[in-house]
Amino acid sequence: MNAAALTMLILLAAGVQARLPAVPVLGGLRLEFLPALVAVAALTYRPGAAMGLALLAGLTQDALSAGPFGVTGLAYATVAFGITAMRDVMDPDLPWMQMAAGGALAGGVAVLGAGVAGFSATALLKILALGWWSALLTVVVFYAGDFCRQWMRDA
């Protein structure tokens, strides 16, 4: 996926995250889209670009949140740093690798967020739910990216 397109998608995802209501059936959880996009960057871009996009995503989310500024940016940058460092042994085309990356990013943010807001049984369930949601969404984003690339090639 083109870096400029991914940057716009990240900003759009942050805006949508801040605008959509919480989902009552998921215990009032707000759906997060940024971890999946950061996972795409971490698995496919050079380390510098991946961390830059991770920082942009995290700091934008922090600017649209009441949490300490930099928490999400730190989490995304740290996990993205780890993913890019392990890229030699990770095959980004494998769905479970994509799920692991998305889940790790969402989980890292959620753990830091819970650490600031306070750990509890509800927080643990939230961390798990957010990790699973991002893991699944990452695979969907990769699939959509491949589909669009194929469609443009055929066109």
Partner: protein, 249 residues
């Protein structure tokens, strides 16, 4: 290794109110806010039926507020007379500004709103935000054209409050869910369900007399047993906030 050291350094100064973080936050908010406002396109696509229902709801609310205003006007006149009698200085009406809610918290760990007013409009940090129903929260981060409000539902927002009938003081805190807890209430206090809870005016942020909610139930603090804790139902419906008032002074 350099990146790791930078990250470690960043972790040490995380959340500190530095000039760099304030400027960076303002820049990121300016980047993200236009995309938040794009969400206006989604609710704009409504059926006529929904609009008619909303219209009826607003008419009924308008009528209720008119009647309330009439009652308050009468109470205000009586208050003035009594103050003159006691030779107290009359309180000035508060200076307020209306703001539109343009976004909520982008994360899952805090409860906040984004408003379309910033320091260009006279809004600064630690200003009380409310609506016709009651207290909503306080401003925590302000940039040129937008501001962030920490809701009373958030555990980080603590409000000094009074039980309206018994005038017993306490501290109201959010639990991150839809209920509030009023703590440190005197053990000898008489608390009854449905009793209103209002701001006490202590602390310098929330003016006195703003409705916070109503008591649902009360019991001794399970950890210390030295004071009462009361569960409060908030007066405001936080799911349906669209316009709010910010108290500028």
């Amino acid at each position: 290794m350099i990146a790791g050291l930078l990250l470690a350094g960043w972790a040490l100064v995380l959340g500190q109110p530095t000039l760099v973080s304030a400027r960076l936050r303002a820049l990121c908010a300016r980047l993200g806010t236009p995309f938040v406002k794009l969400g206006d396109l989604i609710p704009a696509v409504r059926s006529r039926h929904e609009l008619a229902r909303a219209n009826d709801r607003f008419r009924a609310e308008n009528e209720r507020l008119r009647q309330q205003l009439q009652a308050f006007t009468e109470t205000g006149r009586e208050n003035l007379r009594l103050r003159e009698l006691l030779n107290l200085a009359a309180s000035r009406p508060r200076k307020t500004i209306a703001a539109r809610v343009i976004g909520r918290d982008a994360g899952n760990w805090w409860q906040s709103l984004q408003l379309d007013r910033g320091w260009n409009d006279g809004v600064t940090e630690n200003m009380a935000v409310l609506n016709a129903d009651g207290l909503i929260g306080r401003t925590v981060a302000v940039t040129r054209g937008e501001s962030r409000v920490l809701l009373v539902l958030d555990p980080g927002c603590k409000v000094s409050a009074l039980l309206q009938d018994s005038r017993e003081p306490g501290i109201v805190t959010g639990g991150g869910n839809a209920r509030l807890t009023m703590s440190y209430i005197n053990r000898a206090a008489q608390i009854h369900p449905g009793e209103a809870v209002v701001t006490s005016g202590f602390g310098g942020v929330f003016p006195k007399g703003i409705l916070v909610g109503h008591v649902e139930r009360a019991g001794l603090n399970p950890e210390t047993g030295m004071s009462f804790d009361a569960t409060i139902t908030p007066a405001v419906d936080f799911r349906r906030l669209e316009e709010v008032l910010v108290i500028l002074e």
